[in-house]
Amino acid sequence: MVALAVVGGAVVVVAARDTRTVLLALAVTLVASPLLADPLATPLGLAARFVGAILAVYLLWVVARERGVVGILPSPTGGSRIGWPAEVLVAGGAAVVGFVAHGLGAPAGGPPLASAATANPAALAVAPVATGRDVMRVGTGLLLLIDAALLVRIALGGTPGDVEQLVTAAMLIVLAGALAALAANARADGTGGYAFSDPGRVRVRREPDAHPLDQA
């Protein structure tokens, strides 16, 4: 169930366009990830991760909320270019690979489900991180990517200690805080929302090889 929450959250993060939906899904993924450890972390460690995850997402939420009074309107992110069904397939394939590769050649300290869940955010994050054209999409992809690394840590090394959970939470807050500041700065500049200032590599749309019969 927890693994499904991580996977489902990751799919929504990369597939949705509404920023608040993306952030809600990100919160689910970040909160559920430490629960995949077996045995569970101590209450103190879990509390640190929960607080870290919620605070990290809250910082982004502050930036994303619309404030019509001051003229700040909703700004969607880029969303998935291949649609959510394709993202689900990517997640499914990654889960199989992660489950089979559990331990990566040596006995692992964590459960196989963690390995299966690890591959999902990692695989799903590749597209937004590599091809994203707005701050929020790239940023949420980055948070998914770092969460995947933390899941690798759980899957291979077992349950992290309290101090590690604390340092992890602090890192998530710093990264999300930096992302929130960057997103707010972009959103405050003109009407482009979170979009990058440069369009990046322009994608050339190839013309169809054949013309419709009625134009021939």
Binding site: L104, G109, V135, L182, N185
Partner: protein, 513 residues
């Protein structure tokens, strides 16, 4: 534990300065005061202490203390130079954040935790791109900085997690060790912006003032690199596994970065890009040390890291002072700068000696040792020559400086302080006027101080070489435990690795496998 005041001073200062960032004066004042406090608290760090908290631990070393002292001083001077020549409002706060996370990264014996702290350091670095108006461009570049940081952090976390467990029942091919090593080495390359992963660093150079560059592309990745060196020496180097193919990849990136960064710096038309590529070139030597995969490279690598980050800070401060003095950073427009401002020429000469060095200086010898350990045969001589290629762009700068100026140009600004009689009826106004009239002098003074500091570190002052030869943070030295039932103080580690002179109670020598 003596590290705690430093961490509190820098982390609380960073948070407060960022919270008050809308009021630039208050935020800057808080940050500068905390940077001063950081210098004091860093000096008060006692090496050889360790504390265990909930199964993990923190330990202080002489190298940690030296890194933080130099970082705090360089950060303070760069912040002052930045205020004088115009910089980003968040730079002092970011400096504090980078120092706090670097302190954690260098004091955590467990590499799995240290990489987390070092990754957070890069998150702070992305904030230097923020500007109050027209911030979309800055955010775009900042996101790229963040992307490099997180991708590198992900690779490092995965690598340390793979090795950092019980591998007695290993069923995988040894090549997996090579992949873990390669992942961490590439992570370091990405963090430094080594070629070909230099795109984000190049865009950053386009966007931020030169005085902020060393913070993001040198100081923050330096802590990450030290963690990588400690991890590689303790986890990878002792293995009897053939990693030549993987080492070759790291070696290639290192050599390419050293040579091509010098070429790129040589052909740049403005001095901030010269600074940016100079940092990348020097970072290539750090990658050489990682490619060496030899515990003997531990001490020279850490010596070089200290020398290079301080020297590049001085170079950046020189560039900022020069731009302020001549109202331009374009190399072609700076003809005659050295004749008009011999003081700036003297500062650049100090920077050249500190960064390129001469035989006998600790940094020069360290770099030669790294090259010798990383590369064998005649190729070593070529690589060593490659590390001297910065002389080409320094020479170009001096040649331009000695050339005849084209047309009428400014005189290079005042080089002497201008202080009007104190107006006791308007002390605040007098201070503002004095500061305004002496901004170029302040920038020049900061650059000169940094250049002297760089030369001292490069020469091995402050016990640089001894500190660099010390062990990585270990919990086996005078342990203070916060966990009931944990053992008390233990005897120092007895390392069978080659020993070096002991430093202030710290066991010395290359890290034991």
């Amino acid at each position: 534990m003596s590290l705690l005041p430093f961490v509190l001073m820098t982390s609380v200062g960073a948070v407060l300065a960022l919270l008050f960032r809308r009021n630039e004066r208050i935020a800057t004042a808080i940050a500068v005061v905390c940077l001063l406090g950081a210098v004091v608290t860093a000096l008060a760090i006692r090496p050889g202490q360790s504390v265990v908290v909930g199964g993990a631990g923190f330990a202080t070393t002489e190298y940690l203390r030296l890194f933080l002292v130099l970082g705090a001083i360089a950060g303070l001077l760069l912040a002052i130079v930045g205020q004088a020549v115009g910089s980003r409002r968040d730079v002092p706060a970011v400096t504090l954040g980078v120092l706090a996370t670097s302190a954690l990264a260098l004091s955590l014996p467990d590499a799995r935790l240290a990489v987390l702290a070092a990754t957070a350091s890069g998150g702070f670095g992305a904030l230097v791109t923020l500007v109050p108006i027209g911030g979309r461009g800055g955010s775009t570049v900042g996101t790229r900085v963040l992307r490099a940081t997180v991708v590198a952090g992900t690779m490092a976390i995965a690598a340390t997690a793979w090795i950092g467990r019980d591998l007695t029942d290993l069923a995988a091919q040894p090549v997996v060790f090579g992949l873990a090593y390669l992942a961490f080495a590439l992570a370091v390359a990405i963090r430094f912006g080594a070629i070909p992963a230099h795109g984000w660093a190049a865009r950053l150079t386009d966007t931020v003032p030169e005085s902020t560059l060393p913070l993001v592309t040198a100081w923050a990745p330096a802590a990450f690199a030290v963690v990588a060196l400690a991890w590689a020496d303790s986890s990878i180097a002792p293995l009897l596994v053939d990693l030549d193919a993987v080492r070759f990849v790291v070696l290639a990136i290192a050599v390419i970065s050293i040579v091509l960064a010098s070429v790129a710096a040589f052909v740049q038309e403005d001095i901030e890009h010269v600074v940016g590529y100079a940092i990348i070139g020097d970072a290539g030597v750090v990658l050489l040390a990682i490619a060496a995969l030899d515990p003997a490279a531990w001490a020279p690598a850490r010596t070089w890291i200290l020398a290079f980050v301080v020297a590049r800070s001085a170079f950046a401060a020189w560039a900022a002072a020069t731009r302020t003095a001549f109202f331009t950073g374009r190399v072609a427009d700076l003809r005659g700068w050295a004749i008009r401002r011999p003081d700036l020429a003297a500062v650049l000469a100090l920077v050249v000696i500190a960064s390129v060095g001469v035989p006998g200086l600790a940094a020069f010898d360290a770099r030669a040792a790294i090259v010798g350990l990383a590369v064998d045969g005649p190729f070593a001589a070529l690589v060593l020559l490659g590390t001297l290629t910065p002389l080409a762009y320094y020479g170009r700068l001096f040649l331009v400086g000695l050339g005849r100026p084209e047309g009428r140009q400014g005189g290079g600004g005042a080089w002497r302080p201008v202080v009007a009689p104190v107006d006791l009826t308007d002390l605040r106004g007098w201070l503002a006027r004095t500061w305004s009239a002496n901004q170029a002098v302040t920038a020049m003074g900061g650059a000169a101080l940094l250049a002297i500091l760089a030369l001292a570190v490069s020469a091995g002052a402050f016990g640089t070489s001894q500190a660099a030869a010390g062990l990585p943070p270990t919990l086996d030295v005078s342990t203070e435990s916060f966990v009931p039932g944990e053992p008390g103080p233990e005897a120092p580690v007895d390392s069978d690795a080659p020993s070096a002179p002991a430093v202030d109670g710290e066991a010395s020598g290359t890290p034991a496998p």
